[in-house]
Symmetry: none
Subunit: 211 residues, 2 copies
Amino acid sequence: MTSVPVRLLLADDHPVVRAGLRAVLEGEPDFEVVAEAPTAERAVELAAELDVDVVLMDLQFGSGMGGSQATAVITARPGAPRVLVLTTYDTDVDILAAIEAGATGYLLKDTPPDELADAVRTAAAGKSALAPEIAQRLMDRVRRPAVMLSLREIEVLQLVAEGLSNQQISERLFLSQATVKSHLVHIYAKLGVDSRTAAVATATASGLIRR
Amino acid sequence: MTSVPVRLLLADDHPVVRAGLRAVLEGEPDFEVVAEAPTAERAVELAAELDVDVVLMDLQFGSGMGGSQATAVITARPGAPRVLVLTTYDTDVDILAAIEAGATGYLLKDTPPDELADAVRTAAAGKSALAPEIAQRLMDRVRRPAVMLSLREIEVLQLVAEGLSNQQISERLFLSQATVKSHLVHIYAKLGVDSRTAAVATATASGLIRR
DNA sequence: GGCCTTCTCCACCTTTCGATGGATGCGGCG
DNA sequence: CGCCGCATCCATCGAAAGGTGGAGAAGGCC
């Protein structure tokens, strides 16, 4: 169908992973890797400057902007490329944040090369490409909306789990402490607990947050 | 010096990472990648069958044997290859387990290709190759000989991690709240934190308590 | 247009937690 | 024996967290 190759941008902070993606994807005749970005910020710039069809985006970057933020910025622009998230983690926070941000697909890094190539073609065609594990998680989530925390609530809870105080969380998320407390009150109600440590314990047990 | 190339075995469950390592390392004229292993078990087999100088070993495998176990098995044999651990994570448990198991070096996956190549040569020569971050961690660890919490302190911290309040902990352990607080103060001092959630976060990260 | 949810923010008040600065008894070690 | 670390206990005070009861803006849905 398409005689012109699919133009790709690789965004990952690990040089080894970028080289691996390039090696795997350039083996396909209908792909062309036009650039690599070692940071999320650089990915945003390159996606704007270059004519790119699909961005392969990692979620974890060492510092600075995160992958889902970058995804949101990139997909906001009209005529934006598709963003295919490719990461190691598969927690609810990551998945929901990425999809919310406008990702076309979500793959795990242990995906075999041929499936990866298929997913890129699927994404280039504008269809969503989800790894089976991810699809399963979303199904579970829909089937049992028992612990339905909003995205923002999970975000707050994740920071609580990392040991931050309400003050620190408010600074990190550019909120007031009052708002953080509000979110926490809602979280406690939904989880049926009455303290931050208990919330972290139950949320960890149900796989809502990482670590 | 060495006219024969360094013979490498790549052990990682991510095809993309294996491809990346192969791409990066085969660019060096003095390296030869002789095999790839997608599981730790396969890495052990291949290390025994083939004549290998250095094994590049991931720590996280999806299922089955872990990377540090495989490292222990491989290095136990006389005339064994050097094992260079290459992983994303840098928690104390991982690092210590790998070094304990006989790893010659420990690198993080965001290492630049040239440093990676240097580290492989260093490992091939039998010298230890540690990423600066890792070296720093080990120094910290030596400087402050293990974060040794007393049994009682770990007991208290474990209950904190399960979400119990000081009151509940005191009842569970037949203590007064004052005593629980005392233990917590000591725990905070040893861990270098100043709140219960932060204590749980760091203790979990260093494997002091189970989750 | 209403209705609902989410996210944001505010004020007031109570409880819990953490910080400080003690004290006692016990057991190991030089 | 004295010293030290551990575990236990205590009181007090300020700071942080939690409880209650709001409110307004944005977006999806009927």
